[in-house]
Symmetry: C2
Subunit: 315 residues, 2 copies
Amino acid sequence: MRAAAERVRDHVLRTPLLPLEIGGVRLWAKPECLQTGGSFKLRGAANRLLQLSPEQRSRGVVAFSSGNHAQGVAIAARRLGIAATIVMPADAPAVKRSATLAAGARIVDYDRGSESREEIGARLARDSGAALVPSFDDVDIIEGQGSAGVEIGEQLQDVVGATPDKVLVCCGGGGLSAGIALALPEAEIVTVEPQGWDDMARSIDAGRPVPVPDDAPPTRCDALQTKLVSPLTLGALRDHGARGVSVREDETAAAMAWAARHLRLVVEPGGAVALAAALTGKAGPLSERSVVVLSGGNVDPVVYADILKGHSGTV
Amino acid sequence: MRAAAERVRDHVLRTPLLPLEIGGVRLWAKPECLQTGGSFKLRGAANRLLQLSPEQRSRGVVAFSSGNHAQGVAIAARRLGIAATIVMPADAPAVKRSATLAAGARIVDYDRGSESREEIGARLARDSGAALVPSFDDVDIIEGQGSAGVEIGEQLQDVVGATPDKVLVCCGGGGLSAGIALALPEAEIVTVEPQGWDDMARSIDAGRPVPVPDDAPPTRCDALQTKLVSPLTLGALRDHGARGVSVREDETAAAMAWAARHLRLVVEPGGAVALAAALTGKAGPLSERSVVVLSGGNVDPVVYADILKGHSGTV
């Protein structure tokens, strides 16, 4: 874990720890929306790509992603001179597609409903000899994301002279949550998911990966639409004693408006669920040793503007 | 200058230096929109209030402000246990009024068109014995704002191992610009103002304070609607060899949309003019030693949403 944090240190932005106040309690935000590429995903991608051999690098990398992992891989690959191919759902937010292209990656589209991105990715990797870069089911990826947790530990020590007692983390496949759990063994970890997509919470309870049901409600949290967590991320979170909570779409939207107004940060829906859990009290008591991770900020401007307008009177 | 930066260090947020890329050039942003209170104004207010005697503190403070200085004074005063009264235009953005009230200050309204805030403020100070806290025409205020420049110097040394060659600063009365000029004697300082409100640029050229004409066009940059700069700020900037440029309202709006999309930062109109000058090339060549100050992020959500929608296709 420490080795991964050292490895990526010069390749990622050390995002600040920002104070916020909820119900009279001062706590902290870790705004990974300020990270290069607009989400924490560069951390894991950098940690994985930095460990490829020169020969592996020459054959390129393949990843599948709805957007944030795509940008993380594309940016890390460009910096290391590696060709990147990203398998992306055709309905991914335009802001994420164009940023991935801008970072120099090739995009291969697939249909979320009828095609398997895993199969397309595996075929591309087989045909070209490229290395697959998983979005969460990989020790290097998990440890790379955990560098955010290492920073949280160091930064909280600086500002309050103590270790974190609780960290609220937005959770899709669980790579960030598991990495932070490994980095901060003494903190309570609360994974936060959209209602109906809280498969990590249910998997923690069940002790095995439980898929999202096919009739899950629509969600604006495109970054958290993972259908099944992995034994790796689930195992790390269960070993740690993590627990999971879920938030409604309107609570997430209100958290985005709150972040704009009170933190001056643009947070995407999937990046705002942990803040929503803090604002609604769903994550339990908070303290000056509590940290809320804002995991990403890539949201289409028109969608974002509509959400701000809809919730401007409430925050 | 160094003494002021030391004095306020534990009272303000050390905002990060964030990378950005314009036309293939990587440069840096200093996001004071992330500062406590949503603008740099806490820096000067803290530096001023920390130097009041216990007896002065007991009589309270008075300030006049369209909003950001109000919040800076209110927050600094609350933390030091000082009563604050703020003289505020009746048409100040609601988001700034409510944040000032939330920080525990008393607000006295005045009409921008028919009343003099200076006279109201002076009368309140005289009647109550409270200390007036000017928004820019004061050495302590200027030096406090300059702590942002001290941080820029330290942070740029950390990331590129060099001193800044150019700093673009949003300019109203010139407190922030003058403070940064004093803190960074070797950097070129470019003050940026809204078109028609570029009295600092014209005052630098004329060698004396030149007021904004009465027929100046409307601007959304409420934070930069200063009618006349002060000899103090003008003198510091002229001594430094600063120059001034101006940007159009649509350029400012596009810069706000650009900041939301590429930096995931909420920047208010008056806080985005320096970025607009960078994006339009009006501030001249940029380099990895150039820094753009984003001076504030307090914007009414509905106004902000409309601006994002209007410019979503252009950034």
